[in-house]
């Protein structure tokens, strides 16, 4: 099956010699949900803008439904829905005008879905964009992004700046779309709970590359964090050379190392490698795993 979205060795820099993306490769299958994670500045938005044809990659290729978003922009945009964190809707337009515009642009606009969403969001169609709250504006943007029944929905920080109730409502709508339309979704988010709820796969960007690309459930069940006394191991590289080690960093008196594998097998592996006893290996929630994978070293002040 052709992936709905494929990134192949994408490179992009905004400053010469400082690539934000430095060889990013992954794809999204039809109906799949992929959460795009990474620290601020990791290149999530840049990657999304490349998929939307709003930016050229400096090297590599992007394919949406097998097409190039810059060479076939119309064919691609007819089948894609997009909501950006800082969605700019024209302040002077009313909701009704915005919807009418989208209805004209998309031949397969679904009026029943439009009515259903307007009802659920309790939006007054004659309200002007400038009168809307942040949450309402995001709901309008979502409505405009999904009523043509896209095969791929791209959400860039959809929940950014929303209160918890508005975030949950946004998520409810996304889940209903998943249920009813089987839409593939690529979304970036800093809310690990939302990532857990939408499920599927996570792709973690770090230092211009894909640091991790896994099914969420695999990540939970087959990964753990090991705490090893600092004195027992000379440096992070000694840990990172071990099979299954994804990253090691010093945290005060311990090394924190993320490993692939169950806590029991990793503990045995480590105890054998360093002739140690009583190493602590634990499964951790996604938020902790994220911090362990991309967080910085934590040293006591006296250390260099």
């Amino acid at each position: 099956m052709t992936p709905v979205l494929a990134f192949e060795h994408i490179v992009r820099a905004f400053q010469k010699g400082v690539p934000v993306l430095n060889g990013v490769t992954f794809s999204v299958a039809p109906g799949e949900v992929v959460g795009l994670l990474g620290r601020n500045g990791a290149g999530k938005t840049t990657l999304i803008r490349i998929a939307m044809g709003m930016l050229f990659p400096h090297a590599g290729a992007v394919r949406v439904f097998g097409l190039s978003p810059t060479e076939d922009p119309v064919a691609v945009k007819l089948r894609i829905g997009y909501v950006a964190e800082e969605q700019v809707l024209p302040a002077g337009s009313s909701i009704a005008e915005l919807i009418a515009l989208h209805r004209r642009l998309f031949p397969n606009w679904d009026q029943a879905l439009e009515r259903a969403l307007l009802g659920r969001f309790r939006l007054a169609v004659h309200a002007k964009v400038r009168q809307l709250s942040k949450g309402e504006a995001r709901q309008v943007a979502l409505l405009c992004a999904v009523c043509h029944r896209p095969e791929l929905l791209i959400l860039d920080e959809p929940a950014g700046g929303l209160d918890p109730a508005a975030r949950r409502e946004f998520l409810e709508t996304s889940i209903q779309l998943l249920n009813r339309e089987g839409t593939a979704i690529l979304f970036s988010s800093h809310y690990m709970n939302d990532v857990e709820r939408l499920g599927g796969r996570v792709v973690l960007l770090d230092e211009g590359k894909v640091r991790l690309d896994r099914e969420l459930d695999t990540l939970h069940e087959d990964h753990c964090v090991a705490l090893i006394p600092r004195a027992a191991v000379p440096d992070a590289a000694a840990l990172e050379h071990l099979p299954g080690c994804l990253r090691a960093r010093p945290v005060f008196d311990d090394w924190h190392a993320v490993f692939e594998g169950t806590p029991d097998t990793v503990r045995c592996q480590l105890e054998e490698a360093f002739s140690l006893n009583g190493i602590c290996c634990v499964r951790v929630p996604l938020e902790e795993l994220f911090v362990e994978l991309v967080g910085s070293n934590r040293l006591a002040e006296a250390e260099p």
């Binding site: 949900v33 409810e172 889940i175 249920n179 690990m192 857990e196 939408l198 634990v282 996604l286």
Partner: protein, 134 residues
Amino acid sequence: MLINPADELPIYRQIMRQITEAIAGGRLKSGDRLASHRELSERLVIAPLTVKKAYDELETLGFIETQRGRGTFVSARLPRVDRAGQLAQMREAARKLLAQAYLAGLGFPEVVKLLKEAGRDLAEGPRAREKERV
């Protein structure tokens, strides 16, 4: 049913655990109908595939069965697993529990009281005790 996305246990396992606990506590009986994938996914605000995964695993284990076009039900014949093995595991768990209780300075009657409470939680569901606390 309640799920916690911040738990280290994946959501599909949380669903599995709550359904098996409800069966163990008698809140779900053979032949009872479960919510559909879609209903449960929208009710809990989680991906439909996560619900499907939980149901698929429970079906493989024999706790539930899907009847085409009718829905998903608690199995008429619930699985009986290796009793001797289970019993050995329970004995081990009991030893661990008593050792922990000893370290926490709890006596045997207090452990029994805790077990009774846990039994009631199983029968009434996790919400019952939440209410009690309020």
